[in-house]
């Protein structure tokens, strides 16, 4: 049993692509069969916020400035058809098909009111 949550192979393509961040000298390798977001996680990087990894929560929104990619359906709550046409995507739903140049574009997410006004974690007795 394998529900293939993250897999999406590129036929005939085994070598990883390079994903570079605009305005920074960081980059990571992305296998064509895993999403750009999961590739970043596997590279041990924290360049894009990670949420659901399923195109639902919007946390991982990026803009792809250059390069070819394959994308799966993503929540219209975070990416309109016009935005998608302009390269705004959810990193967990796109798969590199060439080297990419990207820029994080996390949306303002109205968060749980009470996450913010917590006392400093350090003060909690452990």
């Amino acid at each position: 049993m394998d529900n293939h949550n993250n897999r999406h192979p590129q036929p005939g393509m085994q070598t990883p692509h390079q994903v570079a961040l605009a305005d920074s000298d960081t980059c990571f390798k992305a296998e064509p069969e895993i999403s750009v977001l999961v590739a970043m996680e596997r590279a041990g990087q924290q360049l894009i916020p990670v949420g659901c990894r399923g195109g639902g929560c919007g946390k991982c929104r990026i803009r792809i400035l250059q390069g070819d990619y394959f994308s799966k359906r993503m929540s219209r709550a975070w990416v309109s058809p016009e935005q998608e046409a302009g390269g705004t995507v959810l990193a967990c739903r796109v798969y590199a098909r060439g080297d990419l140049l990207i820029k994080p574009d996390p949306p303002e997410i109205a968060v749980s009111c009470h996450a913010a006004d917590q006392p400093d974690q350090q003060n909690n007795k452990r």
Binding site: N3, N5, G55, G56, S75, S112, C113, H114, N124
Partner: protein, 307 residues
């Protein structure tokens, strides 16, 4: 006071891709696929549930929850509660019998938190799946994945949870089983029950209306929760957090995401509630421990990732 609402009966979830979603709900959680309809919706249930279905998946371009429905004792109760909802000032919509296959007429109503709820009295009873009605064996041998036994509850985020909780208490007869209180006496989290369970539905305050935090499914043992964690890794499923224990409800749990980003929980155990019990209270200065009893630290992803 009890008003004739029995239990959570069904939840309709929006998914981006039906085949991927079935890989999650049917093959990984181990729910039984029981039917499909001409809108393309797929109906599933946990094997111990006696009614025909409890989970309905609908393909859409925005994940989340369409509605959650509660089953009431009979059609007289349904008519009474329908009137009570109108008198309380809710917008009430009639959904005819058969709109969901095998389900009787439903009364749908809105809520201050922006979620749609339903009550209904009748649903085709197909019995527990895979075991006989009489002299039933312990469990069916051909279950898959996590072998989830039933849809148990959901946790919903929205504004004015006090308003929705009051509606559930005053009109539908739910009790507050557990609550979180801050130092000004405000309650950012409320866990409500209509049974002896620690929660049949839960709410967390959030400015964004109508949000789903998770849909939860019951397992039998802690060993089953660990086995679920193994399956999550084996299938490369997106993990949120766990296996761990909650302070609130004391359930043993693991959280993960469906392929459309809706959060799922499988859990076992936890507190019980009788109508004479005072609500169990956690204070916000201990919120980390209230949510994850072992970590004792707040987890931003758990609190803010919603569909």
């Amino acid at each position: 006071m009890k008003k004739g609402v029995m239990r959570p009966g069904h939840i309709q979830l929006r998914v981006l891709d039906m085949e991927e979603a079935l890989g999650h709900y049917r093959d990984l959680l181990g729910l039984i696929e029981v039917d499909r309809d001409d809108q393309g919706r797929v109906y599933l249930k946990g094997w111990t549930e006696v009614d025909k279905f409890s989970v309905v998946l609908r393909e859409a371009d925005q994940p989340g929850m369409d509605f959650v429905g509660y089953k009431v004792l009979n059609s007289e109760v349904l008519a009474q509660l329908e009137q009570a909802l109108k008198d309380y000032g809710q917008d009430v919509e009639q959904i005819p019998a058969g709109e969901l296959k095998g389900c009787g007429r439903r009364v749908r109503f809105d809520s201050p938190t922006g979620h749609m709820f339903e009550i209904y009295a009748e649903k085709e009873q197909t019995g527990k799946w895979g075991v006989e009605q009489v002299n039933p064996e312990a469990w069916p041998r051909d279950l898959t994945g996590m072998r989830a036994t039933r849809f148990d509850h959901c946790l919903l985020y929205g504004p004015n949870i006090e308003g929705t909780a009051k509606l559930f208490q005053d009109v539908l007869g739910f009790d507050i089983a557990e609550q979180v209180i801050d130092d000004e006496g405000k309650r950012p989290a409320l866990f409500l029950t209509v049974s002896q369970k620690a929660h049949d539905v839960a709410f967390i305050e959030c400015p964004e209306p109508g949000k789903l935090h998770h849909a939860s499914f019951l397992l039998e043992t802690w060993e089953d929760v660990l086995r679920a964690a193994d399956l999550i890794s084996m299938t490369d499923t997106s993990l949120d957090i766990g296996p761990t224990r909650h302070g609130l409800t004391h359930g043993k749990t693991i959280y993960f995401f469906d392929p459309s980003g809706n959060r799922s929980e499988v859990f076992c155990g936890g507190d019980y509630h009788y109508p004479d019990h005072e609500p169990v209270t956690w204070t916000t200065d201990q919120l980390g421990k209230a949510i994850f009893y072992h970590d004792r630290a707040l987890n931003d992803r758990f609190l803010t990732v919603l569909t």
